[in-house]
Every structure is written in C-alpha cells, then in structure tokens.
C-alpha cells in the first residue's frame, strides 16, 4: 500500500530537497501535495486525507503546533522537520512522534517512513499524534502522556503515574503507581533527558526517580531514598548534592 504524503514547509529549497529525497529513496509513497503555511496545509489535509504529513515546526503565520490545533480529526502520522533542537522537541519525543533534524539525513528519512508504514496496519494508528496534540494542549506537565516503546509495541502512560525507572542494560524498567512494571526498549539516559522537566531526578547511574513519589531519605555515603511503593533506591555519592538540592527548594 502506498502512503499518501503531504509536505508542509515554508522554504522552497527545503520542500524541493525533501521531495527529491522521497522520490529517490522512498518508492512506496505518493506525494499528494505541498504547502508553505498552515492555511493551505489544512486545506490539503482536508482534501487528500493523507497518511503522513512532513511538518515544519517553525513557520511564519502559525507554527506546526498551531496547525495540529486546527485539524478537526487526527487521522495521519506526522514527521516533524526542524532545523534546531528546541523546546518543541521534547513534546515530540514524549509522544514518540517522529522528527528529522535539518539538514535531513537520508537514512533517518527512510527509517521514519518505514516506521510509519509499520504502524499503518495497527490498531494504534495515529496514536502518537493524538497524544502529542493532547500533550501540547495541557499546561500541567505531570498530566502529560508518554509513549513507551516495548518489544511488543508500545505503552502509553501518564507521567504522573511513573514512580521510578531503573536501567537494565540498554533497556529501562518502569515502575508505575498501580504496582505494575514495564520493560521499555530505550536506555535510561534517553528518559532522563526526556523527563528532566517532569520532576524526575537521576539519583544513581541506573536510577531515575519521580520526585513526587519520594517517601523518605536516609543519610549515608550517598544515602537511600524510599519510594511510595516501598522500593529503596541507592543514591550515589556523586549525585547526592544534586538530589538534595532538588529537595532544598521544597522545604
């Protein structure tokens, strides 16, 4: 099955490059239209009902998120294109949506398209985009939803339900408030970066904790922190200072 694709990009050259790459390296797609701003893009989406939209974040007269705000029904995947990593990137990563940094790497482009193709047949179609739109609208970070890739597919969880994360080789084990735990196919460092704005603290080489679930702290070389689910987590000496500083503000 061929993917219907729309490119939303304000810059002529960028559009041409992406168009060329898609034609040459992604033979399974059909480019149904290109737009240079939010308004014509909405029109194109309404008319063509695409499977995939390449969406530039920074555009004059409303950015990529403004476009998503105005789309009535999300029934397509998005691959964001951006020239520089910024605040928007985190929202995109949390919802596990795809993004490409400009200049676009052809290998990454091929990979992103392949991913979208894989999801197309699944029940969780366009889920990432829906979560992204939801997250963007939410003011409170803790209510944000996060998409966690598993071996089977992915899990969607609220940030506020994650008690702590434990590194397990290249995987990360998530402990949730309902007592369940999940093995996620990304390393802890990835989630440390992703969740640093959500009150998460790296207390140890292999532990990331949600500050809001800390029950008590016992002094020691680094000390031990006890979480609300009873789990005791070691704090490494080198990160003790950072940990205590995070709590100093709450006193």
């Amino acid at each position: 099955m061929s993917l219907k694709v729309i490119i939303v990009e304000d810059e002529q050259s960028s559009r041409e490059i992406l168009k060329g790459y898609l034609e040459r390296y992604c033979p399974d797609i059909t480019l149904v239209g290109m737009a240079d701003s939010v308004k014509p893009a909405l029109e194109l989406i309404r008319i063509h009902k695409p499977n995939l939209v390449f969406l530039d974040i920074e555009m004059p007269f409303g950015n990529g998120f403004d476009l998503l705000d105005q789309v009535q029904e999300i029934n397509f995947e998005i691959v964001f294109t951006t020239a520089f990593s910024n605040y928007a990137l985190q929202a995109i990563q949390v919802s596990a949506s795809h993004y490409l940094l400009k200049p676009i790497n052809i290998d990454e482009l091929i990979q992103a398209v392949e991913q979208v193709k894989l999801n197309l047949d699944r029940e969780s179609q366009y889920l990432n985009t829906k979560i992204l739109v939801e997250n963007v609208k939410l003011e409170n970070h803790q209510l944000h939803k996060i998409v966690l890739p598993t071996l089977e597919g992915f899990e969607v969880a609220s940030v506020k339900d994650i008690i702590h994360c434990k590194a397990d080789d290249n995987f990360t084990c998530f402990f949730f408030a309902d007592g369940s735990k999940k093995m996620i196919c990304r390393n802890l460092k990835y989630y440390q970066e992703l969740l640093s704005d959500f009150d998460f603290i790296r207390v140890h080489k292999s532990h990331l904790i949600n500050k809001n679930f800390v029950l008590r702290y016992r002094k020691g070389k680094g000390g031990t922190v006890v979480m609300s689910n009873g789990n005791e987590i070691e704090v490494s000496a080198s990160r003790k200072k950072e940990f205590l500083e995070a709590f100093a503000g709450l006193k």
């Binding site: 940094l101 200049p103 676009i104 790497n105 080489k205 490494s236």
Partner: protein, 685 residues
C-alpha cells in the same frame, strides 16, 4: 583573617576604654576609705575643746574638712566651717572668721544645687545655723571695719528674726558675742536678746557712718518702740545692758537722750546689783558731761563711780576714774585736789603696770605743775611722760609682735584649710578633666573604630569589585578564546561536503553533511558553557574523528577507547580541550605520513583524575614544523597558545589543576598529548 584582626583591635580598644573608667572609680573609693575617723566625730571633739585649745580644735576641724570634702559630706563641711569661724572670732581673727562663715553660708545656700548630691537624702534645715552665722558675720565684719557688709548681715539676722519670732532670736547672746560688742566690760546683766544685740549693732554702725537717724531708728526698734526715727522714745529697755549701750550710742551722737538711757541703765543695774554695768553707765555719763564741759557733774559721777569701783576692787577702772576726776578738777580750777586724784591714778597705774594710765597721769601732772608755775617740776614730769611713752610704745610693739606670731600660726593653719579646699577643687577639676578626657578618648576610639571599619569595608568592596571585574574579564577572555576555535571545523568540513558533491555522491555527501551538522549543533551548544558533561564531549569527539576519518581513510586508522568506569553523566569537563590536539595529530602528524598511521584516543578514569591520551605515530612536531612554512607555523601555534591560556584561566577561576603535556615520541616520531582533569573540580561546576 582580616575579620579576626579587626575583632582583636575592637576588643583591645574597648578594653582600654573600660579600664580607664575603672581606674577612675577605684581612685575615688580609695580616698574615701582612707579616713578612719568620721568627720562629725572630729567636729564634735573640736567643739568640746575649742575654748581651751583652739589650735588643736582647728587641727581636728582641718582633718574633718578633709574627710567631709572627699566624701562630699556637706553637713560636716558646713558645721566645720561654722565652728572654724567661731574659733577665729574668739581668736580675734575677724577676716578669717568672716571668710569661714561665708564659706559655711555659701555651702548652705548652694548645697542643694551642688553637683554631687551625696547627702541629698537628708537636706537639712539650716536656718538656725544660718541666723547664727549672720550674727557672727555681722560682728566680725564690723570689727574688720567693713561696715556696709556687717550692716547687711545684721539686717539679715534681724529680718529673719522678725519673720520667725522664735525663741532662738529672743534668747540671750552668748559670751563671746558680748565680749566683742565693743564694750570694755562684760555685760553680765540681765542679758539682752540677740535681736536687741543686732539692733544695737546696727545702730552702732549707722552711728559710725554718721547716719544718726537710722541709728536711732534701730535703737528704737530694739526696744520695740515707735518707728519714728526723729523722736526717739524713751521707752527704755528692761535690760540695763541695752540701755547702757543705747545710751552710749546716743552719747556718741551727742544726743542728750543719752543721759536718760545711761541714768536708767545705772539705776537698773544698781537695783539688779550689777555694779559693772552701773559703773559702765556712770562712766559714760561722766564722759558725756566731760565732753559737754560740765565738769562739776562729771566730777560727781566720777566720785560715784570711784566708790563703786573701790568696792569692786577694779583697780584699772579706778585708776581711769581718778585720772578723769583729776582732769575735771583741774578744769574746775582745783589743781591741788586734781593733783591728788591724778597721783592716785598714777599709783594705781603703777600697781597694775598700766603704762597708759601712768603716762597720761604724768602728762596731766605736768600740765598742772605748769599751770601752778612749777616749771621745773613740770619739765621733770614731762620728761618722765616721754620716757613712759617710749616704753609704752616698745611694749605695744612687743604685744604686736606676739600677736603677729600667734596670728602667723593661725594663718598657717588657715592656709592649710585653704590649701585643702584648693586641693579638693583641683581634684574635682582633675576628675572632671579625666572624665571628659576619657569621654573624648572614647569618642576618639569609637570614631577611629568607625573609620577603621569604613576603611576595611571600602577595601573589601574595592577588592570584591576588582575580583568581580577580573572574573568578568577572564570570562570574556575565555569566551573569546573558545570561539576562535570553531572556524577550523566549519570550513574543513564544508570543503569535504563540497568534495562529495563534486564526486556526485549524494548519499555520502548527505551523510557527511548531516553528521557535520550534528557536530556543529553540539559544538555550538558547548560553546555557551564553561563545562559540559563528559558524555557530550565523547559524542563530539566520536563524531569529529569519524568525520575526519571519512576524509583521510587512507592516511590513518583510529582507536577510541573509553573506560567503562567513566560514567559520562557524572563528570564535567571543559569543552573543546582535547579536540584541537586530535585535529593536530591528524592534520600535522598523520596527514604527512607516507604509510598509514594510527590515532589512539583514550579516556581513562584513574582514581580521582580523568586521564586523556591522544597518541599518534605521525611525523612528529619537529619534522612537521620543518616541513611547514613560517606562516603555517604561526597559525598553528596560535591555536595551541589559545588552549594554554584558556587552561590557565579555567584553573584560576574554578580553582582546579587541569594539566596538559605534549611529548614527542622519539621512537616512531609521533606525538603524545596527555591531559589530566581532576574529578573533584570537574564535578563542582
């Protein structure tokens, strides 16, 4: 260190200030404790002995004053000065007496307003003391000849007496006052009251001042009579003494009313059996008549008096009476009886050794002899008279000498007292001076301290400011040094991309370009910071080496070894510190090598240090610089110099000891760069 020093100074200053105050206090208490006896006891002792041993009494009082002054015991001071005044009066040292009395009076009047109110709890009513001082002062001043002042005090006494009407003023004057009231004999009659005494004194003074009206008025007041001054009423006092004295005053004014007073006094005295006053009054009467040339009357009174005095055996008065009787008889033209009387007077004078009487007698006898025409006898008598005069003069001188000696002794004592006062004054002044100077000293100390603080404060501010400015300068320097490194990449990399495009290898060009842009993102991000997580550094180095390797695949292989112990998130290191050396190794070492070289980059954790080794087996620095032109060398050394200055600044600013060593590897003509970054410092920021 500085703070400690200033605190030390502070305590030092404060201590010295306090000890100064303390010294003052101890000094004072020491003096007070010195006197064993109490002032009031000494005064009592002096009171009991002053009649007999005035000198000793003065000694006691001197001592008492010393104690009282040091203690600030006002009461004792007043009493001591008052008693001193009385003693001085007794000793006929009138000016001293009045001086001491004035002191006492001054203390009474100003006592309550004195600065040191040691006895403020018992401010006494000194009115009794005051009035007695007034009286004594009036007396002593009168005797000193200071009539106006004397009058003032007498008047004060009288005014007070009229106001108060209490018993004390009506009580009789004491012996010593009577003695010095200006009469020759003690007036042991029915005593006159103090008020009367003062009135008499006032009358006396006005008399001396020739203000007879006022004098008479005062006399009238003394007997409580009408206040009309011109008509002196003959309300004689019930005291013969008062009448006698009033009579004399009036007589001195040549007022005939004197006769009445004197007669009255004589009669009263006779009925009282007070022969002395009787004799006194009669003498005055006789004198009155003698002055008024009524020698007959005078002679009669002299005879009367002689009778009384013969009974009394008062030889001196008798001699005087005989002499005056003789003079009167002589004036009456009775030279023989006159001669008889005067010879008697002379004999009596001889008896009691009274030169004056003898002298006068001789003079009169000589006159009588002359009038009788017995010139030889008269001359003889006159010569005798002259001789007597000489001896009486020398006697007088002797007396005066004696008096002088005595008064010298007393004045010495008084000098001591004065000295005492002066000492006390000086003491007080010194204490005041010390206090004020200690106050000044304190002000000085505090202002000095303030100044010191100000200096320290401003010095600290200047220091802080300087430090901040230096830090800011260093930061600017750091930033500028950092940004200088970037262009190397950009153009080298862009050149590579250009190469792939020229070769029409889109995929490779795209890959190279995107990796380059990733590298650029990292470098740009890092360029904002003084320290970055080691993880980012490693990522950047990996990207860089890979990019360079892409370009010079045929020139070198590389090994990037990272110690698994190194947790990339735990450590922070300065960015772009190692990269330039890797660049050097590739561009100046390996690139010139004929065969394929090897680049080894190693990050290792060694206890508390991150050790980075960049090793290449290129042509080495020496050969490299030989190959290059002068201009090439210049640009290269600028880059290295930049790193070194950057390290210097980082080490001083962040207090770390990052070391860098570049060694030539002689065996294979390679270069080894070793960088050691202490962990402690790298975490701290």
């Amino acid at each position: 260190m500085k703070i400690k020093f200033s605190i030390l100074l502070l305590t030092l200053f404060i201590n010295s200030g306090f000890s100064l105050e303390f010294d003052l206090k101890t000094n004072e208490t020491f003096e007070i404790n010195k006197g064993g006896e109490s002032a009031s006891e000494l005064i009592k002792l002096a009171q009991s002995i002053y009649k007999k041993e005035p000198l000793k009494a003065i000694d006691h009082l001197t001592k008492a004053l010393k104690i009282a002054i040091s203690k600030g015991d006002l009461d004792s001071q007043i009493k001591a000065y008052k008693l001193l005044g009385e003693i001085n009066f007794d000793l006929e040292q009138y000016s001293l007496s009045s001086a001491n009395n004035l002191k006492a009076l001054n203390l009474i009047e100003n006592g309550s307003s004195l600065k040191r109110k040691r006895i403020s709890s018992k401010i006494k009513d000194y009115s009794a003391e005051k009035s007695s001082i007034y009286l004594l002062l009036g007396n002593s001043l009168e005797l000193e000849g200071k009539l106006d002042e004397a009058l003032k005090y007498y008047q004060l006494f009288v005014d007070e007496g009229q106001d108060r009407q209490d018993a004390d003023f009506k009580s009789s004057v004491n012996d010593s006052l009577e003695t010095y009231s200006g009469w020759d004999v003690k007036l042991k009659s029915k005593p006159i009251s103090k008020i009367q005494y003062a009135q008499l004194a006032i009358a006396r003074i006005y008399n001396k001042k020739k203000e007879f009206e006022l004098s008479k008025k005062s006399l009238n007041n003394g007997v409580g009579g009408a206040d009309s001054a011109s008509k002196i009423s003959f309300n004689y006092s019930n005291s013969s003494s008062y009448n006698a004295q009033a009579g004399r005053i009036l007589w001195e004014q040549k007022d005939p009313a004197a006769q009445g007073f004197l007669n009255n006094s004589a009669e009263q005295a006779r009925s009282e059996g007070n022969t002395k006053i009787e004799s006194q009054a009669i003498t005055d009467l006789a004198k009155y008549y003698e002055e008024n040339d009524d020698f007959e009357e005078a002679k009669d009174f002299r005879n009367k008096n002689i009778k009384i005095l013969e009974k009394e055996k008062d030889t001196a008065a008798l001699a005087d009476n005989y002499l005056n009787k003789g003079i009167s008889e002589s004036k009456l033209g009775m030279p023989d009886s006159a001669k008889e009387s005067i010879v008697k007077a002379q004999k009596l004078g001889e008896e009691i050794g009274d030169l004056k009487i003898q002298q006068k007698s001789l003079k009169e006898l000589s006159k009588i002899a002359e009038s009788k025409g017995e010139l030889e006898e008269a001359l003889e008598l006159y010569k005798k008279y002259i001789r007597y005069q000489d001896s009486s003069v020398s006697l007088k001188e002797e007396e005066l000498d004696q008096k002088l000696i005595i008064s010298e002794e007393y004045s010495k004592k008084q000098q001591q007292i004065d000295l005492l006062e002066k000492n006390e004054e000086i003491n007080e002044k010194t204490i005041e001076l010390l206090r004020s100077s200690s106050r000044n000293q304190k002000i000085l100390i505090y202002s000095l301290l303030g100044g010191l603080l100000l200096v320290f404060g401003s010095a600290y501010l200047v220091y802080k400011n300087m430090r901040q400015r230096r830090l800011a300068n260093q930061l600017v320097a750091l930033r500028s040094l950092r940004s200088q490194m970037n262009p190397h990449f950009i153009f080298n990399a862009l050149n590579s991309v250009n190469l792939y495009i020229a070769q029409k290898d889109e995929r490779t060009a795209n890959k190279y370009l995107t990796e380059f842009s990733r590298l650029m993102r990292l470098v740009l991000e890092q360029s904002q910071k003084d320290f970055i997580p080691l993880q980012q550094e490693l990522e950047m180095i990996d990207l860089y080496i890979n990019l360079e390797h892409d370009r010079f695949k045929d020139k070198f292989d590389f090994q990037l070894q990272i110690d698994p112990e190194l947790d990339g998130d735990s450590y922070q290191i300065p960015p772009m510190l190692i990269q330039p050396y890797i660049e050097n190794a590739i561009w100046h070492g390996l690139r010139y090598k004929e065969e394929k070289g090897l680049l080894k980059v190693e990050y290792k954790l060694d206890r508390n240090t991150i050790k980075v080794r960049v090793e290449d087996n290129g042509i080495g620095r020496v050969k490299s610089s030989q190959i290059k032109t002068k201009n090439q060398r210049k640009t290269q050394s600028t880059g290295m110099y930049n790193i070194e200055s950057r390290l210097k600044i980082i080490n001083s600013m962040f207090n770390t000891k990052i070391s860098l060593q570049v060694n030539d590897l002689n065996s294979e003509h390679g270069t080894l760069v070793e960088v050691e970054i202490p962990i402690n410092s790298s975490i701290s920021s």
